[in-house]
């Protein structure tokens, strides 16, 4: 899935173009990283819903902190993990704007867990985009709350040992125990079909926010080849074979009701 599908049938007819919400700029992300794809999907959704000019994003501390270089909308940084609190402050002051937080697994599920749960529990009318790649990227491949059992990282050199390091935290399932969230879904960037599903999930979430439905979280299983010490292709295979068994895909919460 890239911008190379430009194949005009007739001269001058454009089938695909860079979304207006995406800045024409090379990203700093590592080769094979899922952030670039995720950024593009957000940009496509902002374009589709024509909400770029009323959208305010909150970038995390982590690899995606420089989201403002790539997404063509108002964006604020937030302190590590405080992303949903900052998004809450923005949305409560400007309820007619579209507010999203973009967070990695460390930001959302470790240091920012309290803010994550309480923003969800208040049913804040925001969209949380949770990029789970099972490892800390920016700091150099340390263990994340979503690191798989046995997975080797810089800080679990012998593999994550569940007896002393806990087990991967399943955020969608955790938040689904709350009464307030409106939409919770887990998708994976492991195939073109998966990427299309991710776009659709984001569309549902942003559209829901526009309609004032409330809190939504889209968890995106995403490749991090460099810190997994894998080729881009194997990093995608790791999602399919390693992550998805631990983090089952699907819609957990739909229209405010848990999906059985």
């Amino acid at each position: 899935m890239s911008a190379t599908r430009i194949r005009p049938k007739k001269k001058g007819r454009i089938l695909y173009r860079r979304p207006l919400s995406l800045v024409d700029r090379a990203t700093h992300f590592c080769p094979g990283c899922g952030h670039g794809t995720t950024h593009k999907l957000i940009a496509e959704v902002l374009d589709t819903l024509k909400i770029r000019e009323k959208t305010i994003g909150v970038a995390p501390v982590g690899c995606a902190v420089m989201a403002y270089y790539y997404l063509n909308c108002d964006i604020s940084e937030a302190a590590h993990g405080r992303t949903p609190a900052v998004a809450t402050g923005i949305k409560r002051c400007l309820p007619d704007r579209i507010v999203f937080s973009y967070q990695g697994d460390g930001d959302l599920a470790a240091i920012g867990m309290a803010e994550t749960i309480h923003a969800a529990n208040r049913g804040e009318n925001i969209t949380v985009i949770f990029v789970n790649n099972s490892v800390y990227g920016m700091t150099g491949g340390q263990m994340a709350p979503t690191t798989l059992n046995g997975q080797k990282t810089a800080t679990s050199p012998c593999g994550r040992d569940s007896r002393s390091m806990g087990t991967p935290i399943r955020i969608c399932e955790l938040l689904n125990t709350l009464d307030s969230p409106w939409h919770i879904e887990r998708v994976a960037l492991n195939s073109p079909a998966g990427i299309r599903k991710a776009r659709k999930a984001l569309l549902v979430a942003f559209k829901g926010q526009m309609e004032g439905k409330g809190y939504s979280l889209i968890e995106i299983l995403s490749p991090c080849p460099v810190h997994m010490r894998l080729s881009p292709r194997d990093a995608v295979r790791f999602i399919t074979e390693g992550m998805i068994p631990a983090f089952p895909l699907g819609v957990f919460r739909k229209e405010g009701k848990p999906v059985a």
Partner: protein
């Protein structure tokens, strides 16, 4: 004579914030500032504004961050341990030059301490507190009236300098009731905020950030902050003087300690001692120049604080060796006694002559 009502200091801050046009308040319960959070829980929704009881002080200060990036006025309040939790957020606010108001109703520390009044957070408030080179504007009220009035001014200053402003007060001023003349004027005019995040409609996207990986860019950013702080030092110093014109013994105290010190000064005057009081109203910027001037002509200075001697260090820096500086302080929620202050004033008056060092 204006109509006055009876109100406690915490409520007076809350009503001040509302009259200053504070659009959003975020708080977390902690004694002795709970009246303020409860007051805002009632009044903010009444006024059609935002109130959230946050999940922590950490979340509250970051909700403030989110609120002020939209250009709206916002406030949080807490007491000493909770203010420690907000320090990261304060550093981020200062770094991104965001206007916000933070109230610290100090209590006894360190650690969990107690819920009695204290002034032991002076260093934290005036020297930075969080990481990096930054400053807060710090205001120190000493009455319920000033709790109210300074809050309104705090919002104006925050907007004027695009800087977080702290109201540094204590549990006594927060809890006690005094007659209060409510502010009846318009809320301070809000300057244009072209930097705010409102959606990039008919303009380029705005970004609020403090990450600057390039060394030169970050130093440049720091230099801009420092030049702003220099301007604040030149423009904003505030203090109150009492009987200083002919004073030979000078007391320096702020907040509720200044009220006790004033009583001691009156007693000293009744005994023929030419005592005076300088009360810093802005703790940062500190009234260094005025203290230095007064140090040239007094026999000695007595600093009174509810701490082990924190403002004392700023006074010593200002005074140098111009005159001796004595200290009267209590800790852990204990309060300096008027009689102890008087005894020290008498001692300074007796034992020190200008030009000698004790």
């Amino acid at each position: 004579m204006r109509n006055r009502i009876l109100m406690n200091g915490n409520d007076a801050i809350g009503e001040g914030a509302i009259r200053a046009g504070c659009h959003a308040y975020f708080g977390y319960p902690i004694t002795p500032q709970n009246e303020l959070t409860a007051y805002m829980a009632q009044r903010m929704p009444e006024c059609g504004r935002v109130f959230i009881q946050a999940e922590s002080e950490v979340a509250a200060i970051n909700m403030v961050y989110g609120a002020v990036v939209t250009g709206k006025r916002a406030m949080t309040s807490s007491s000493s341990p909770g203010i420690s939790l907000k320090q990261e957020g304060l550093s981020y606010l200062a770094a991104a030059e965001l206007p916000a108001v933070i109230v610290n109703v100090q209590r006894g520390g360190p650690g969990l301490g107690n819920i009695a009044p204290s002034q032991a957070d002076y260093f934290q408030a005036t020297k930075g507190g969080g990481h990096g080179d930054y400053r807060l504007i710090v205001l120190a009220p000493n009455s319920v009236q000033e709790m109210h009035d300074f809050t309104i001014n705090a919002f104006a200053l925050a907007d004027r300098y695009r800087n977080p402003v702290m109201i540094l007060t204590d549990g006594r001023l927060g809890q006690m009731m005094e007659p209060l003349a409510l502010y009846k004027g318009p809320s301070p005019k809000s300057p244009p905020k072209p930097w705010s995040l409102t959606g990039a409609r008919n303009r380029k996207p705005n970004h609020i950030r403090s990450l600057l990986l390039d060394v030169d860019a970050l130093e440049e950013r720091n230099l801009i902050l420092q030049s702003k702080y220099k301007a604040i030092l030149a423009e904003l110093v505030g203090f109150d003087e009492y009987l200083t014109r002919d004073a030979q013994v000078l007391t320096i105290a702020y907040g509720s300690s200044a009220r006790i010190a004033k009583g001691a000064v009156n007693q000293a005057r009744a005994r023929g001692i030419k005592a005076g009081l300088l009360r810093p109203i802005t703790l940062w910027p500190f009234p260094r120049t005025r203290i230095r001037q007064l140090a040239e002509k007094v026999k000695g200075i007595l600093v009174v604080e509810m701490s082990a001697g924190q403002m004392l260090e700023d006074v010593q820096l200002a005074v140098g060796d111009r005159c001796p500086v004595a200290f009267e302080g209590r800790m852990g929620g204990a309060v300096p006694e008027e009689s102890d202050i008087l005894a020290t004033l008498r001692h300074i008056n007796k034992s020190t002559r200008k030009g000698t060092r004790s």
